[in-house]
């Protein structure tokens, strides 16, 4: 443990900025999770693995000489169809069932994906080098890689586009209607099966975008999926379903928390601290609600 990070304002600032740029990415993944949780009432443990798969798409484009930033366009298209395939094969059988069933089923998908990616892409930690250089701020005391700024910018663009799409388009309205009341939507002629498939596809596409950005800015590895799932779950329960500004804010908060945990506790405890934070948040919420004799639903 060392708290030196707080004694140098420049390092503190660096950690904050890094955290915010990272948090925007988390918020994008969490937005996808909130979407499908809200619409289909499913908790997708394979969320993180979809992210990593998206990352590998961008990485492969990089390997074949295409600039990895184009992965931001290609990955969501491929991931949309992967998402639809997963929905058709597995998810549509667990939609109306107990939530635990969906958790366990998607856990199975997650293990499957992890291992398939391990076979296909190898167990090395890889990153797609974008060659964007860095930006120096405050007399060269704060160093920000341009790729991080790029990824935060792209995430915001995608999130804004999606929000507008959900508000204006026909499918967006159908999705929102299904989220409010699936039965009523069905009566009024919404094909909920199609809506569910589209929702899961959109969620997977968002994961694809986030994954492509992560492969540019950070590193990817076949087994790194679960922390992303837990992060997005945490962001969603802190913000609440359907609270978009909340998702953005808590995503950034989580990013900053992680950067500071990294500085204070050391890198080896970074993932551990994320999981512990989840437990602490859940326990805090539980005690707060139990005063009113309620519980988390």
């Amino acid at each position: 443990m060392d708290f030196l990070v707080f004694q140098y304002p420049m390092i503190t600032l660096q950690a904050c900025l890094d955290g915010i740029l990272l948090g925007v990415l988390f918020a994008l993944i969490a937005y996808g999770m909130a979407l499908q949780w809200g619409v289909m009432n499913i908790i997708n443990i394979a969320q993180g693995d979809l992210v990593i798969l998206g990352g590998y798409i961008a990485y492969f484009m990089y390997l074949y000489g295409i600039h990895p930033a184009w992965g931001v366009i290609v990955a969501p298209v491929i991931m949309y169809f992967v998402g639809i395939a997963i929905y058709k094969l597995v998810i549509n059988k667990v939609v109306d069932r107990d939530l635990f069933i969906s958790i366990l089923a998607t856990f199975g998908i997650s293990i499957l994906f992890m291992q398939l990616m391990n076979f296909a892409f190898g167990a090395d930690v890889v990153l797609a080098n974008s060659g964007y250089g860095t930006t120096m701020l405050f007399d060269n005391n704060v160093v920000l890689p341009n790729s991080k700024i790029f990824s935060a910018f792209i995430s915001i663009v995608f999130a804004v586009c999606l929000v507008i799409y959900m508000k204006k388009s026909k499918l967006g309205r159908a999705i929102r209607a299904t989220a409010q009341n699936a039965r009523a939507a069905k009566i009024l002629g919404v094909d909920t099966e199609k809506v569910y498939a589209a929702t899961f596809g959109i969620n997977a596409a968002l994961c694809g975008v986030a994954g492509a950005l992560i492969s540019i800015t950070f590193t990817i590895h076949p087994y790194m999926g679960l922390p992303y799932t837990i992060r997005s779950f945490m962001i969603v329960i802190v913000a609440g379903l359907g609270n978009l500004p909340g998702v953005a804010m808590s995503g950034m908060g989580l990013g900053v928390f992680e950067e500071f945990a990294d500085y204070i506790l050391g890198t080896e405890f970074r993932i551990g601290s994320v999981f512990l934070l989840l437990v602490l948040i859940l326990v805090y919420r539980r005690f707060k609600l139990s005063r009113k004799r309620e519980y988390l639903k």
Binding site: I43, V90, K93, V94, R97, L99, F100, I101, I103, L104, A105, F107, G108, I109, S110, I111, L112, F113, M114, Q115, L116, F119, L226, I230, F233, I237, G266, E268, F269, I271, G272, S273, F275, L276, L278, V279, L282, V283, R286, F287, S290, Y295, L296, K297
Partner: protein, 349 residues
């Protein structure tokens, strides 16, 4: 009752004779015993109480580390042991080994129980999927954190004391087999006697409707914690034995292995049938045979098979083998069936 007695006697005799009948499978049989213990105790709070936990792996890993650390730490400096990384600078004499193991197992069983009691009040207040995710987080966090602690080997792992030379070469396998078989018998007796008391009914009431159970004057929180503590006790014990059996402890691959053992125990209980006494035992046996077959013949593809297996079991057999049998032969389970009613149902189908 009489029929059951004969059944138990046959199983007991078979269990005691097994290592001599199949000497090549001693380690596999010991692992099977441990798996059955884990599945049966997961069933106490997963099946009977309705609190689906992914986090019992926490107690299992804790027991594993505690047993090994006590066994080493009682006689030698622990830090130097892990530093040397399995080289035989310190050698346990047989007396030291068995004394250490005995004390280690007691600690490995008691500390997780206390831990479960301490965290139980906060965590068991969560319900349904929040409990599941919270315990999942707990298990992974424990693995990540123990992977960063130097004294128990951090990233490079912890070698448990090698079995001492007591004359015969077969002794190691037999010792661990009888240890795990004894634990299995103990678990079975404990669980069976629990299931014949009011306590089981309370657990079932909590599963079926916790609010109503509370309204009926049951202190649900107390019973939930006790249920979890019983699970933790046997998980810790199983972990301690497994640590000695495997001979090497790694934070994320052996001890807090949420991807393998943590899911296995849930899967075995569901495969056999949640909320039954025999379900987890049958499920664990079938699962173990299947798994070993796969692990041997399709090496490398085992996780792919595991993933597919989870999805298939969860989607198509959520009631498990016992649930299927129960639907097919309800009379055997002591359910009174109206013949007319049943025929009508069959016709409806």
């Amino acid at each position: 009752m009489n029929k059951n007695f004969i059944l138990y006697a046959v199983i007991l005799i078979f269990g005691l004779a097994a290592p001599f009948l199949f000497p090549a499978f001693k380690v596999q049989l010991s692992i099977l015993c441990v798996l059955i213990v884990l599945a049966t105790t997961w069933n106490i709070q997963g099946g009977e109480m309705g609190y689906n936990s992914f986090g019992n792996i926490l107690f299992y890993g804790l027991g594993m580390y505690l047993c090994a650390s006590v066994q080493v730490g009682m006689f030698f400096p622990l830090a130097e042991w892990t530093e040397s990384g399995g080289e035989k600078t310190f050698v346990h004499t047989p007396t030291q080994f068995f004394q250490g193991m005995a004390v280690g197992l007691v600690v490995a069983a008691l500390v997780p129980t206390i831990v479960a009691g301490l965290i139980g009040y906060s965590i068991l207040g969560l319900r349904g999927h929040y409990f599941a995710i919270c315990t999942l987080g707990l298990g992974v966090a424990a693995g990540e954190i123990s992977g960063g602690i130097e004294i128990i080997g951090a990233g490079q792992g912890f070698t448990t004391p090698p079995f001492p030379n007591v004359g015969s070469l077969e002794a190691r396998g037999e010792f661990f087999y009888f240890l795990s078989f004894f634990t299995l018998v103990l678990t079975f007796i404990a669980v069976r006697s629990i299931y014949s008391t009011r306590f089981k009914l309370i657990l079932n009431a909590i599963r079926d409707n916790e609010d109503k159970a509370e309204a009926m004057g049951i202190e649900t929180m107390k019973y939930k914690i006790i249920g979890w503590m019983i699970s933790a006790f046997f998980c810790g014990l199983a972990g301690g034995i497994m640590g000695g059996l495997v001979g090497y402890i790694d934070s994320t691959d052996v001890a807090f292995d949420g991807r393998e053992m943590g899911v296995f125990m849930v899967l075995m209980a569901i495969l056999g049938g949640k909320g039954t006494l025999w379900g987890p035992i049958i499920g664990a046996t079938i699962f173990h045979i299947f798994k070993e077959g796969f692990w041997t013949f399709f090496l490398g593809w085992q996780y792919v098979a595991l993933g597919v297996l989870i999805v298939v079991i969860v989607i198509y057999f959520p009631e498990g083998i016992m649930g299927w049998l129960r639907e097919k032969y309800p009379e055997r389970f002591g359910e009174v069936v109206d013949e007319k009613d049943r025929k009508a149902q069959v016709e409806l189908k």
